[in-house]
């Protein structure tokens, strides 16, 4: 046994590379003595190598290297996915684009400015929103409004199309006049603040100039247009069917109140009140013929009142009765508009 211990020690020394020549010859003569000795030698060597292996593995910082691999993966993803896809797309597109450019070049003697794509922005009933156009013009849109405008203004004029009600704060630029197309007439401005109400269902177009100067251009039958200049605080009311207009000077608060979240009536007719109440509260408002003929005017300011509260307040100042019919659920699970019936008391 002691001899075995000595031999094992020799194997350890050999494994660490510290064996001298005399020890080596002792070890080798033992190894060749029998096949059993050789396999025992191999086993001990293997045991030693396994323990070394374990030590080496424990030294590796797996957690840190996992972070390294994640970094490598991210780089690969960015370069592979993006760059190669881009390269491919670019390679495929380069010839068609080249041909197309050449074609464009030879086929457009006038070199017209290529019109930018038209965009449109819409607000649902009962919702207001604000957008900024590419020239810096701010537009605040009242409920149920649609504004169509180019993504970029790049022609001689700036032109947008309005259906519904909006407040414009036009960025000043005299060289590129700003036009609001209203269907049958347009407003021309260069750098002003004004409000336009142009709802499809309304009889009249209202335009109120808060600041600066605007002109209204009304199309005539003989394809000419009539031009009307407005001064500050002018309100123009244009009857769409009769093509007649009136201009009056007013403080305009009932036309601008909606911007601050106020619904203001000032001696307004039942027609006007019904239209605006309906849009404000997203309800359908009907009234009887007697009331229409009565010539009542309504004055009130609503801020956060509900429809019920607003109607109650109106009924205090004028002899009216009202009835609210709640909306019913439709097949597509949405609800139909509430209906309000107003009658003369």
């Amino acid at each position: 046994m002691e001899h075995k211990d000595y031999l094992y020690n020799l194997i350890s020394l050999e494994f660490s590379g510290k064996l001298d020549s005399q020890q080596r010859s002792v070890l080798q003569s033992w190894m060749v003595e029998s096949p059993g000795n050789l396999s025992e030698y191999k086993e001990v060597v293997y045991l030693l190598s396994l323990s070394d292996r374990l030590t080496a593995m424990k030294k590796i910082d797996t957690a840190e290297d996992l972070q390294m691999v994640r970094k490598k993966l991210n780089q690969k993803i960015i370069s592979n996915r993006w760059f190669f896809t881009f390269q491919r797309v670019a390679a495929i597109l380069i010839f068609p684009i080249l041909l197309f450019s050449v074609w464009i070049f030879f086929n457009s003697p006038e070199r017209k400015s290529i019109s930018s794509t038209m965009k449109s922005s819409e607000t649902a009933f009962g919702v207001r929103s604000q957008i900024q156009l590419s020239d810096g013009t701010m537009v605040i849109m009242n409920s149920g409004t649609k504004l169509t405008y180019p993504e970029f203004f790049n022609g001689d004029i700036r032109e947008v199309k309005l259906s519904g009600e909006a407040y414009f704060h036009v960025k000043a630029d005299a060289e590129h006049p700003f036009y609001v197309e209203l269907g049958g007439c347009r407003i021309k401005a260069t750098g002003t603040r004004f409000n336009i109400s142009n709802y499809a269902g309304d009889q009249e177009i209202f335009a109120f100039l808060e600041h600066g100067r605007v002109s209204m251009l009304m199309d005539q039958v003989d394809s000419k247009s009539e031009k009307v200049d407005l001064k500050e605080n002018d309100l123009i009311v244009l009857n769409k069917t009769q093509r007649r207009y009136t201009i009056e000077s007013t403080d305009g608060s009932q036309y601008l109140g909606w911007i601050k979240g106020l619904l203001i009536f000032k001696k307004d007719s039942i027609n006007n009140v019904a239209d605006r109440l309906g849009r404000w509260y997203n309800a359908e408002i009907v009234f009887d013929a007697k009331l229409a003929k009565s010539g009542y005017v309504f004055t009130a300011t609503f801020k956060q009142e509900t429809l019920e509260e607003a109607l109650k307040l109106l009924s205090y100042s004028t002899p009216i009765n009202y009835k609210i019919i709640q909306g019913t659920q439709l097949k597509d699970t949405s609800f139909s508009k509430r209906k309000v019936i107003i009658t003369k008391k």
């Binding site: 374990l54 996992l66 490598k72």
Partner: protein, 196 residues
């Protein structure tokens, strides 16, 4: 590797194919240290280069996860990939690798790789090391697992160098007996790494 592990790894591999990173992390944590040592045993390169090499294998493992066809096991896929990388590495260096021809996957069984799996090798040792007397364990641990020199151990434990030698020898005797079921088979497969 037992069947349970095999099933678990195949499940995790499916998870990885679906883009689950945790599955990738599992394979990395489980096999990375062993693969690094394996690469170092295959070709003599500095530790840092071995780590880079194995990391590249894992990058490919993730990127090609949908393309890879695992014929035997994830374990053999990873080890054989590292092995092939090692040969590529040698080829690039212009070294002749005559005696290190790429073996078929058939030639290498999972048993060979088992001793390169940190947790499994550790488990094998831990059980056997429990059988060592305290002082014997202490000396063997310092000598073989911490890699201290006999002289250093002697100073630390205040014993003679001769005693250190004796304790290591004693530990080898006991461990050889404890691991005798594994050693002969493993030795046959693995010895060439050492003798190289």
């Amino acid at each position: 590797m037992n069947n349970d592990n095999q099933t678990k790894e195949l499940f995790l591999y499916e998870e990885m194919k679906r883009g689950k990173e945790y599955a990738f992390d599992f394979f990395f944590n489980y096999y990375y240290p062993g693969l690094c040592v394996y690469a170092q045993n295959m070709i003599s390169i500095p530790e840092q280069e071995a780590r880079d090499l194995v990391q590249d294998v894992f990058v490919k493992f993730w990127n090609d996860r949908e393309k890879i066809v695992v014929r035997y096991s994830i374990r053999s896929y990873l080890f054989v990939s590292v092995k092939n990388r090692c040969f590529d590495f040698l080829r690039k260096r212009g070294k002749e690798a005559k005696n290190l021809e790429i073996t078929n996957e058939h030639d290498i069984t999972d048993e060979t790789f088992d001793t390169y799996v940190l947790s499994e090798l550790e488990a094998l040792f831990t059980n056997s090391l429990k059988k060592l007397p305290d002082r014997c364990y202490e000396v063997f641990e310092m000598s073989r697992l911490q890699g201290l020199k006999n002289k250093e151990i002697a100073v630390r434990l205040n014993i003679s160098e001769k005693t250190v030698e004796n304790q290591v020898t004693k530990a080898l005797h006991i461990l050889k007996k404890e691991l005798k079921d594994y050693l002969p088979l493993l030795a046959l497969f693995d010895l060439f790494h050492f003798l190289r």
